[in-house]
Subunit: 245 residues, 2 copies
DNA sequence: TCTTTTGATCCGTGATCACACTTGCTTTGA
DNA sequence: TCAAAGCAAGTGTGATCACGGATCAAAAGA
């Protein structure tokens, strides 16, 4: 099985020339689009999504959309109302605290595991993301939230991928999907309070990873997760029942 | 909103007569059927599932089946092969260790949280399940694995429901879905080694919950999760590549 | 006898349609 | 003027069909 057939095309170095082409279905593209929109917070909490509406916007039939929505529902990224319509979950303080607690526990374990498994190459790959981040900050004065959130996501998942648990990764992805709609607002709220600490936080994490200090990495990540949510929590408690309608 | 309309039918005691009827779609029934089969280990690891085949067995069209399978795929209960066919994930030692580790962490946190929140009524409800278990064991000499696994599931989730985290519950359900196909074989393997300790384990858990001792509850649960898997792990290492084909 | 090719069959994907239910607005009545 | 009935547009669910790709077995060739 691990041997190549006699007819397998090989390069002069002995390796195979072609890697399998990826076959992306329409459903996959729809799912990826919605998922990205959810994680980046482009969809407002409480917003109702209709199959036909999304199908029209995405210029497909209803079929790929309903299956993509079904996947998102079972990942708790969107919720199915008893009317059988679906909406992105509204943000409440209870749900916020719940998400922060679970994320701290699970992602904390992931970085702790990663800290004891990451090679020098792994760490330097993560540092590269931080460098790109710094360059972006210095170049563009106006803040590009979409790019920043994508870099943040890459930073974290580059680490999580090193934890060695293929069971944990999908769980963490689901948690990010659930906290995505909050995060955007949280990022805004936090940016006002001064977002430079985020970079500092990330640097502490990488240092801990490089030193193989699992406890320090876990603590630094906990701070990183907790920080934007405290700002959002304050905003929710003060202006109260705005999103509860 | 909390007031009844003037036209709301009320009983003589003042309460409403009718509660909302549940609307179960075909897709929900298909999903529930597959899910139950998966958790109870009725489906063999590595087995390939076809949409048309399941639709024929369940006497429906392909539509509800493909959507139910889509949900199960995104919950990692089954896996999608590059051929676009789906199968029950095969059992490997690495996956086994991964599942045990993650389950111990997450479910351990859940029982620890539950230990500090459960009321006397909650604890007695859990004890009732153990009593039913004892009665079942004493009555039928031949072992009814299906019933036993359902009681085990009820026991654990009755506790987890008390942890107060609506984010954790779906994650734990997904983990059970993933370890279901292994568990059946593990239960067989463990039953030979003497399964009376399971009842003891559960009793220790309930005692810890009643005392509100989070640490003891977590430790007892960890032992409960670990035990059947060690037997299965031994079996896999000895007879080796049986399921790897 | 073994390899290769060809053909039929099966399967997943996506499109389209019919049906039942919900929703929101208009009309009708007091 | 207001509330209730009625109507119409919109939505999710499920069935059916067409199309492209995958799989497997039989047949043709070396």
């Amino acid at each position: 099985m691990t041997e190549f057939d006699a007819t397998t095309i090989q390069s002069s170095s002995g390796g195979p020339v072609f890697s399998p082409v990826e076959r992306e279905t329409v459903q996959d593209r729809v799912y990826a689009t919605l998922r990205s929109a959810l994680i980046c917070g482009l969809l407002e909490p409480g917003q109702v999504l209709t199959i036909r509406g999304l199908a029209e916007q995405l210029a497909t039939s209803t079929m790929p959309v309903r299956e993509a929505l079904g996947r998102l529902i079972s990942e708790k990224a969107v919720e199915a109302l008893p009317n059988r319509s679906v909406r992105v979950p509204p943000v409440t303080i209870a749900r916020l605290n719940d998400l922060v607690h679970v994320r701290t526990m699970i992602e904390g374990e992931a970085v702790a595991m990663a800290a004891q498994r990451m090679t020098k190459a792994d760490v330097s790959r993560v540092r590269t993301i931080l460098l790109e981040w710094d360059r972006m900050r210095s170049l563009s004065q106006e803040e590009d939230f979409d790019h920043e959130m994508r870099l943040n996501q890459n930073f974290h998942f580059e680490i999580y991928r090193c934890c060695g648990s293929s069971v944990m990764l999908p769980i963490i992805e689901s948690l990010w999907l659930q906290s995505g709609p909050c995060i955007r607002e949280a990022a805004y709220a936090f940016s006002e309070a001064g977002g430079v600490d985020t970079a500092h936080c990330h640097r502490v994490i990488v240092d801990a990873l490089e030193a193989g200090d699992a406890g320090a990495a876990r603590a630094a990540l906990a701070a990183d997760i907790e920080r934007p949510f405290t700002a959002l929590r304050q905003r929710l408690t003060t202006q109260g029942a705005r999103t509860s309608a």
